[in-house]
């Protein structure tokens, strides 16, 4: 390998301007791939974080109630006109056991039983429809770290304390320490003290959510001891669907992952990934063709030298290697420069850009990009290298 390597390096160094031009070409290609990959990865991570920041990865509910139809006598036919049954608010059976089981699943990070249902919030003349959410604070915080988003007071429920959203507080003119009457129908009502106000940045939540202690919500919603939903977060967000179906099998409950509830988002993410791959693929292709064409020209330019080297004892295999090494070096050097340029672009985006989100710098991206570029270089060199190896030395030496 020593002599092949040396000849390859000397050839590259001799064709300085050619080498420099193609290196710039490869570097531009690689920097585009590195930057766009980092950008899209960062963007997707950001979108997912924002979406899942206010959402559980998996939501578990009691299975839908269905109509039971009496079996008919044998030999008779029954026509049934069936209305879908209204789904009343009801508790998950044996939810304590379900929570215990989920706590033991290795992929599951946090489990939080919740009781939630509709109510009216009344203050003076104004009336707002709200969603009561009865929680166990310690468990719920692991799902949605809501104390980070408190804008007034503190995140404290229980003993008649409640935490409400910023928009709801504005609508009802409430401040921390004020009283609020919650009306859940059927003469169940209670007056709570506003302990804190949160702002998650999601209109739906900020204008409707009222966090209460689990027990207080249970009694308001007339579900003593029950919970309606179990929220779950998982370790690997993209395995949520797998974990969800596993939970459904284990418990026989309705279990929905964030991927199912955000189909639109998942579609957007996967088409984004697809378009990134397409761009990368085509940039890589044009880089490959660039390397191939430069080396083809080089083989023609060096025809006579190839002939001399062959006459002096270079085997076809050695000649092949000389040009494959040149391709590999183009890929390696070009991607080194290109990766640095790509990182410079990422840095510029993070520090000088619009600041919409932060692109995390992955440590594996560069080695992967360089490995792929080097392999691409070798593959693109294959055709010119074969041509060089197969040159007839007799013809090549006489080539002018």
């Amino acid at each position: 390998m020593w002599i092949e390597w040396n000849i390859a390096v000397k050839f590259l160094r001799e064709g300085r301007s050619q080498t420099a031009l193609i290196l710039v070409g490869i570097a531009v290609g690689v920097s585009v791939i590195v930057f766009i990959t980092a950008l899209i990865t960062g963007l997707q991570a950001n979108i997912i974080e924002r979406t899942l920041g206010t959402q559980a990865h998996i939501k578990i509910q009691a299975p839908d109630e269905v109509n039971r139809i009496l079996p008919t006598a044998i030999g008779t036919t029954q026509l049934v006109l069936e209305d879908k049954r209204p789904q009343r608010l009801r508790s998950i059976n044996n939810w304590q056991q379900v929570v215990e089981t989920l706590d033991q699943l290795s992929q599951v990070m946090a489990v939080s039983p919740i009781v939630s249902g509709p109510a009216f919030a009344r203050r003076g003349e104004s009336l707002e429809s709200v969603a009561l959410v009865g929680i166990d604070v310690a468990r719920y915080q692991k799902i949605i770290p809501i104390s980070n988003d408190i804008v007034a007071g503190q995140f404290r429920v229980g003993a008649g304390d409640a935490v409400i959203g910023k928009l709801l507080a504005d609508d009802l003119g409430l401040r921390v320490g004020d009283k609020l009457r919650l009306d859940a129908g059927l003469d169940a009502y209670s007056v709570v003290n506003i302990a804190g106000i949160f702002e998650l940045g999601v209109r739906e939540l900020d204008s409707r959510y009222v966090y209460l202690d689990l027990k207080q919500a249970q009694s308001l919603l007339n579900l003593p001891g029950g919970v309606t939903v179990i929220d779950v977060t998982v370790q690997e967000i993209f395995t949520a669907d797998v974990v969800a179906s596993r939970i459904a099998r284990l418990t026989g409950l309705k279990s929905e992952s964030w991927m199912e509830t955000n189909t639109q988002l998942m579609n957007a993410l996967s088409s984004q990934s697809l378009s990134t791959s397409m761009i990368s693929l085509f940039v890589a292709l044009s880089v490959a063709f660039g390397i191939a064409s430069v080396l083809s020209v080089s083989v023609v330019q060096r025809t006579r030298e190839i002939g001399i080297l062959r006459a002096m004892g270079t085997t076809q295999k050695q000649m092949l290697l000389v040009f494959l090494i040149q391709g590999a070096l183009y890929g390696l050097a070009g991607s080194l420069v290109g990766s640095m340029a790509g990182y410079a672009l990422v840095w510029a985006f993070n520090n000088l850009g619009p600041g919409l989100f932060y692109i995390p710098v992955s440590s594996t991206l560069v080695p992967i990009a360089m490995a792929i570029a080097t392999i691409t270089g070798v593959l693109s060199a294959a055709i010119p290298a074969r041509r060089a190896a197969r040159l007839d030395p007799v013809v090549a030496i006489r080539y002018v």
Binding site: K10, L309, A311, T314, T315, K317, V394
Partner: protein, 231 residues
């Protein structure tokens, strides 16, 4: 050729045709028999188009004959594959071309060592010494690190001669080695050939147009229309 010397090259009924099997098939060499022994100093002359270069390419294992057999150091070569031919060529034959044919990207010393490096990789102490010795023999020891384009035509040709001799070849083939040089430089180069012929006992086969050159050789083969007419 004197008797008792070791045989280097033997050609038996060598024929060479181009465009074999096509309407334009032409036979260039019509059955050449030839023997070159150790330390022979032979000239091959003939008008252009007589097949000199074709014959030289066959002898140099750069090309294969259509029929007949070529023995190099008594080894038959017709059935050899590329690797075997390349290896035999590298070990036994040195080339000097009309145009020096050095590799521009390498220094004079690296060019001289190239045939060794192609086989053994990084040159060892012994190879380096041998390269240096040869370059000083051709009077270029001061130009070790010069690139070919920094040398004159005569100097380049002398580097090429040193390169041809680095492997201690049994046979040195020279195709119009002085064709591109002025009279004085040509005489110097020829003197070098003579000296190496005596010193290393290496057989020389020179293809030339120059009658002064061929007259100074021990033996002259004349090729006309693909046949050796005078020996």
């Amino acid at each position: 050729m004197s008797e008792g010397k070791q045989e280097v090259l033997r050609l038996e009924a060598i024929k060479k045709s181009y465009n074999v099997g096509q309407a334009t098939e032409t036979e260039v060499l019509h059955g050449i028999d030839m023997l070159v022994a150790q330390s022979d100093f032979t000239a091959l002359i003939g008008p252009s188009g007589s097949g000199k270069s074709t014959l030289l390419n066959l002898i140099g294992l750069l090309d294969t004959p259509t029929s007949g057999e070529l023995f190099l150091l008594s080894k038959p070569t017709r059935e050899m594959d590329d690797a075997a031919r390349t290896s035999l060529r590298g070990n036994t034959i040195g080339f000097v071309f009309q145009f020096h044919h050095l590799i521009q990207a390498f220094t004079a010393m690296e060019n001289v060592l190239m045939p060794l490096m192609l086989v053994h990789g990084k040159p060892n102490r012994e190879s380096l010494d041998r390269g240096k010795e040869l370059l000083s023999e051709v009077g270029l020891v001061k130009f070790l690190d010069k690139k070919p384009n920094e040398l004159s035509g005569g100097q380049q040709q002398r580097v090429a001669i040193a390169r041809a001799l680095i492997t201690r070849p049994a046979l040195l083939l020279a195709d119009e080695p002085t064709g591109n040089l002025d009279t004085k430089t040509a005489a110097d180069v020829f003197a070098l050939f003579r000296r190496f012929n005596e010193k290393f006992g290496c057989a020389f086969l020179l293809v030339t147009h120059d009658p002064r050159l061929s007259d100074s050789c021990d033996r002259t083969l004349t090729l006309v229309d693909g046949m050796i007419v005078r020996n």
